[in-house]
């Protein structure tokens, strides 16, 4: 009897506590949704505005009386114009060439460098690893003037190959640093096991390190891709000939004539230019997250 009475006495209080916990959880959930939605609006408003503008007619754009966020008569004429413009396609081609070459060169150099710096002990390897990172801290806005001299001296001004030469100064240090971190997280016993199994250093890199560090390699690839696709300062400084321009500066330099802005085409071009990074992110993110959640080696 006494026990039952005690239980009756305690239960409501217990329920009350559980209820308040539940309420707190709900509040936290609502707050996080609210802040996420707020952040999403802030970040997505510009691309949305670009999209809206890119499918408006020039007349609609010029009409100050209309709500700028609403399209009345959507048109694809700006997209048709820009995709039918051989100059724009040249920009696109230039961007692709530069990015593919830079990403490839960057990943080859930084994976090899990170492997050596994280696993082979040699004189000065620690200092070198720190030095690699420090070079990344120098901003490109400081570097473009001396680099202009160098690129000019090599006769690579006004050539995409000048860009291919200088972009890795931005991408290699950071990617090497990311890869050093990933390689360092691979247990040393793994390479020792491979050594005993009969692997040479290159085999160890190809068969153990690269597959195991794939999430890191993808993260570094995304970074290198973004940097070289979106680079603005270096091409602005080094390229003045339209046939060598990448998308980023091509759009603004060729679609602005004096004080006439071809807004529709600028927006359409910018959206098309933004498409490849989005595709790459969406495609690689799955691998990236899958890799992050993969099982560890210990049990």
């Amino acid at each position: 009897m006494a026990e039952a009475a005690a239980a009756n006495r305690d239960f409501p209080r217990l329920y009350g506590r559980v209820g308040s916990l539940h309420r707190e959880r709900l509040l936290a959930l609502r707050l996080s949704y609210a802040s996420l939605i707020f952040a999403a609006i802030i970040f997505l408003a510009p691309p949305f505005y670009m999209l809206v503008t890119s499918i408006k007619t020039n007349a609609e754009m010029a009409d100050q009386t209309l709500n700028p966020w609403i399209v009345r008569s959507p048109t694809l004429e700006h997209y048709a114009a820009i995709l039918g413009n051989p100059v724009f396609l040249t920009f696109f081609k230039n961007s692709i060439i530069v990015t593919v070459v830079v990403v490839t060169v960057t990943m080859v150099i930084s994976v090899l460098a990170a492997f050596a710096l994280s696993r082979m002990r040699f004189w000065g390897s620690q200092t070198l690893a720190t030095g690699v990172f420090l070079t990344y801290l120098v901003p490109d806005t400081l570097l473009f003037i001396p680099l202009y001299q160098i690129v000019g001296g090599l006769g690579l001004l006004n050539s995409i190959w000048g860009l291919v030469l200088v972009y890795p100064t931005l991408t290699v240090p950071f990617c090497t640093w990311i890869m050093i971190g990933y390689f360092a997280s691979i247990p040393r016993e793994l390479d020792e096991a491979a050594l005993i199994d009969g692997a040479t250093w290159p085999q160890m890199l190809m068969k153990i390190f690269i597959p195991v560090a794939l999430p890191g390699i993808i993260a570094a690839t995304i970074f290198a891709f973004t940097v070289s696709w979106a680079a603005f300062v270096y091409p602005t400084a080094f390229i003045t000939r339209p046939d060598q321009m990448p998308l980023t500066i091509g759009i603004v330099s060729q679609l602005v004539r004096g004080d006439t802005f071809a807004w529709g085409q600028i927006m359409a071009g910018a959206l098309i230019a933004a498409l490849p990074p989005v595709v790459v992110y969406v495609f690689l993110m799955d691998y990236y997250i899958a890799g992050l959640t993969a099982g560890a080696t210990k049990g």
């Binding site: 793994l190 096991a193 050594l195 005993i196 195991v212 794939l214 560890a296």
Partner: protein, 367 residues
């Protein structure tokens, strides 16, 4: 299959710190040798030098009669099992086990045959398509052993392979390792800090401390006749009792071990000659808990009665541990659960003097 020789092996790190201070050890073909000692005693470093993962500062290591000091690990024909298994996380069990064979260019059907054989020995046939992350700790350990067995190397090296497993699985895997060794008979060097593992697995145990070998011998030999105070204290659980004592001459040419003013235990006559030179010295009297027991339990010869007041009793089921003090030193004895031991009560025990040890405190040697 091969013997392993270590001659004057020294490992010195930068700054002159010596992890291994000159080790001589001969390991016979087919032998199972366990290196045991506390952490930092140099046992793992020694194993890694044999594997070729650490350079040898001085001395010589030979495998199968061939000096391997300058030979890289892959050409030493050894296989190693690591504490954290070191399985390749992106490969299936089959690929993990066959990795070494593939690198060495074995034909496909030979690889299949060897992996199947190793999987059969270890009972992991159904796991071959799984990734390491889908395996339990014990299964991972078996795969790591499979990777070693499949190569049919001259020597197996085990570096604390059971430390990551829970207690029950550890006992089970211990038996399996012993069975595997009895099947494949490959010379095995096994490193552990667990003296029970060392005792149960080894043909010979090598006890290491501070970078030197304290004693080498079969498990029971080390247990019965430890050579140093370190081995006496390290091997056996609960540890050997060591009580400060004075060796005195008794009437009739005999010797007495005096523990305090009232308590003096007679040394067995057959040991008188051995201990006589140390008469009238302050020594440590060493005796294992199972040799401090109720008088009725062991044979009557060379029994020295001691009556003590028990501080604590610990029932273990098959026996009961009793703790008491002799002259300020905490001492442990082992009695039958039915012997009526009670905390706070006096109890009549007997020291089995045939199993006594006398230890020189200064040199650390067992006399």
């Amino acid at each position: 299959m091969a013997q392993v020789s270590l001659r004057g092996v020294v490992k010195e790190y930068e700054g002159g710190v010596q992890a291994v201070k000159g080790i001589d050890l001969e390991i016979a073909d087919h032998e199972f040798v366990v290196l045991v000692g506390p952490s930092g005693c140099g046992k793992s470093t020694t194993l890694r030098m044999i594997a070729g993962l650490e350079e040898i500062t001085r001395g010589e290591i030979a495998i199968g009669g061939e000096v391997v000091n300058d030979i890289p690990p892959r050409d030493r024909d050894i296989a190693m099992v690591f504490q954290n298994y070191a399985l390749y996380p992106h490969m299936s069990v089959f690929d993990n086990i066959s990795f070494g064979l593939k690198l060495r260019g074995f034909p496909r059907d030979e690889i299949r045959r060897r992996v199947d054989k190793a999987a059969r020995i270890l009972g992991i046939g159904e796991l071959l398509d799984r990734k390491p992350k889908a395996l339990s700790g014990g299964q991972r350990q078996r795969v790591a052993m499979g990777r070693a067995i499949v190569r049919d190397p001259k020597v197996f090296l085990f570096d604390e392979p059971l430390s990551n497993l829970d207690a029950k699985l550890r006992v089970q895997m211990r038996t399996e390792i012993k069975q595997v060794h009895q099947t494949v008979k490959t010379t095995t060097i096994y490193v552990t800090h667990d003296q029970v593992e060392a005792m149960t697995l080894a043909d010979r145990v090598v006890v290491m401390n501070h970078g030197v070998i304290e004693q080498v011998g079969p498990p029971n030999e080390l247990y019965r006749n430890p050579a140093t105070i370190f081995v006496a204290g390290f091997i056996g659980s609960p540890a050997m009792n060591m009580i400060p004592a004075r060796l005195e001459r008794a009437g009739g040419g005999g010797l007495l071990v005096r523990l305090d003013d009232e308590l003096a235990l007679p040394v067995p006559p057959e040991r008188t000659e051995r201990y006589a030179p140390h008469a009238n010295r302050n020594l440590l009297f060493g005796i294992r808990p199972e040799h401090l027991t109720e008088a009725t339990r062991i044979d009557k010869r060379n029994l020295a009665p001691i009556t003590v007041t028990l501080d604590v009793i610990e029932p273990m089921g098959m026996e009961t541990l009793v703790h008491f003090h002799i002259n300020g030193t905490s001492v442990c004895g082992r009695v039958d659960p039915a012997a009526g031991a009670e905390a706070g009560a006096p109890m009549a025990l007997a020291a089995h003097m045939d199993h006594m040890h006398l230890i020189d405190k200064d040199s650390g040697k067992v006399l």
